[in-house]
Symmetry: none
Subunit: 202 residues, 4 copies
């Protein structure tokens, strides 16, 4: 097994373990048992338990960031909604294919220590900036009702996160297209002026 492969394998096992037991409860012993390597091998690839988690979180952020596109309003209301849908779709696609990642993000990375909390904050902060600027554009185009951008972007983020959280926790939910559709409709209704929403058939 080549260096890169083994590293990837270790990351994968670490992810599984963290997702299952949580950061604090998970031990290096768990990870190496899962990976079938010796203790020292782990430290050949990662400085510390903390650093693997960091890496996983970083990878996750990168994967998500690459799947979210800034919304371009020039194509009119229908285009905007399509782009929102695409963003939500892409993110869900990735997260639903990577349940352990989802769990990591929503359940295991919360409240670990100030360092992790800050990374999380920064990540969500960047997401919120994206959302706020989309709202800004929507407002200028008179597509959206009067609203407070800051609070509203939190509501949007939260409405998506909570659904994902339930998915991560293993709740029985409808099929993915249905989920995406429902989240979108909820937010379209919440944000757009009625005429536009109607016109979008939502």
């Amino acid at each position: 097994m080549r260096r890169a492969e083994r590293r990837a394998h270790l990351l994968e096992c670490a992810l599984t373990v963290f997702a299952k037991k949580g950061y604090h409860t998970a031990t290096i012993a768990d990870i190496i048992r899962d990976a079938g390597v010796a203790r020292g091998t782990f430290y050949l690839y990662f400085e510390s338990k903390r650093m693997v988690f960091d890496q996983l979180l970083g990878d996750l952020f990168a994967a998500l960031a690459s799947r979210v596109r800034r919304i371009d309003p020039s194509r009119g209301p229908t285009g905007v909604v399509a782009q929102m849908e695409s963003n939500v779709d892409e993110v869900l696609d990735y997260l639903l294919e990577n349940r352990p990642m989802l769990r990591l993000l929503l359940a295991e990375a919360v409240g670990l220590d100030p360092g992790f909390d800050q990374k999380l904050s920064e990540f969500y902060g960047r997401l919120l900036v994206l959302i706020e600027s989309a709202l800004e554009q929507g407002l200028e185009m008179k597509l959206l009702r009067k609203l407070d951008k800051q609070i509203t972007s939190l509501c949007i983020l939260g409405s998506i996160k909570e659904v994902l959280y339930q998915v991560a926790m293993g709740s029985q939910l409808p099929e993915r297209p249905k989920i995406v559709d429902e989240i979108l409709r909820y937010n379209v209704r919440a944000l757009f002026v009625p005429e536009v929403a109607d016109q979008l058939k939502m």
Copy 2:
């Protein structure tokens, strides 16, 4: 100091410590230092570290449950919104007065161990049932647009939780009435049929 008082004092200190450092990072030493009692004394009042946290979480659930009323639809749309507002208001009232509790609920109690996760799930489950039944009634009264009750209730819960999460994390946000108002408007628009929403002036 009587038994009950000392127990309450210990709980209070434990809450502070858990909120500040997180469950795993917090130590018994932290708690008893804060409380000014001896190590053994702690175990005179609580079985274990785990049990104090359990107790705190239980108390929090009880406090919140007592502040959320089932929505009675008989008083018409305006009444329903007023009741929604009252629920949101009460919960925020309590949580904003008890920031450590807020932090405990949203940041520290997540992903601790399967046991805690289940308690959280149950709590949110009960909340969701309340929301879903309110949605059910709203649908029957033709107040609400066509929607999937399960997903939608998650969106509602999430839109509120996320705002609270930011509050717990110390973000700079508008004043409380503004927050409540904005959350409500967001959800009213998201849920109600346009005519009703308009009529509610939201």
Copy 3:
């Protein structure tokens, strides 16, 4: 066993172990086995392995410092030699009664890490200052031959340390009075002008 007693006991055991196995080879396990206490108990009294050693070294330095008196030349050559003798005697007294300490000082504390090395340096530095100032006085009183104070004080220190080192290492040597006498004679001859040395019957 009271706190102070147990601490002293642990220090004693640590000393024994360090003297026998050396700082690096000695383990906490060795110390607590010797002391008959649990692992955690050790850390109740000392921050770390390093800190116990520090403490021991500090105690040793204090004990020795309290046994070395600055030489007062006002009582003439005989008095000076008597004071030298008394100093050497006191130090040997202590060290021979505390063989493990001796070993610690001369064999185990050397080259451990920059921190320890500096402490040692400072200690010997203070000793050397004492010796140099004694030489200075002796020169002014015309009791001593022409000499370089710095190098000579090193020679004096070394002549004593080496004998002690052999004692620490367990070599078969003459009785203590004989040792002290011989070291003194060696140094009296080395330092004093012949007439004075003769007059001292050495």
Copy 4:
């Protein structure tokens, strides 16, 4: 690079590393990094970390032994002192040109483990035998004052070692000839009967 060369190179690097960090603190990683070879290569040339140190110490002993000549008393007092001077000079020459070796001998090889300690003891033991036999001869020739050979030889050894130790530790000291001169004068005065010492102009 031929086998012998690479071995020598590794020894050199090991010496540097041991001198700088001490035996225990130094790691194989340090040595191979310094030498620019792979980990396995090290073990192609040496059985173990321990064995490299052994080798270095052995080489050092050999180098020193070859530079110390048994003192031949047949050439009279002046000759004896000249031979003493030559011995001290040679040894200092070598050690001052090989500071890392000096540090190894005086600071890093002390108190490592019983095995090393014994090697050191044996080395110094051989030195002491040389010194003692020189003293013996000096006594028979009536050049030296009455003295205990064993203790006195320790004093002599110590007076030299301590000066070297300070050199190894990097203290600011006079030039080498001055150092040698001072050590010699100190010992000549300490050992010889006054008339002889005077005659030697020391």
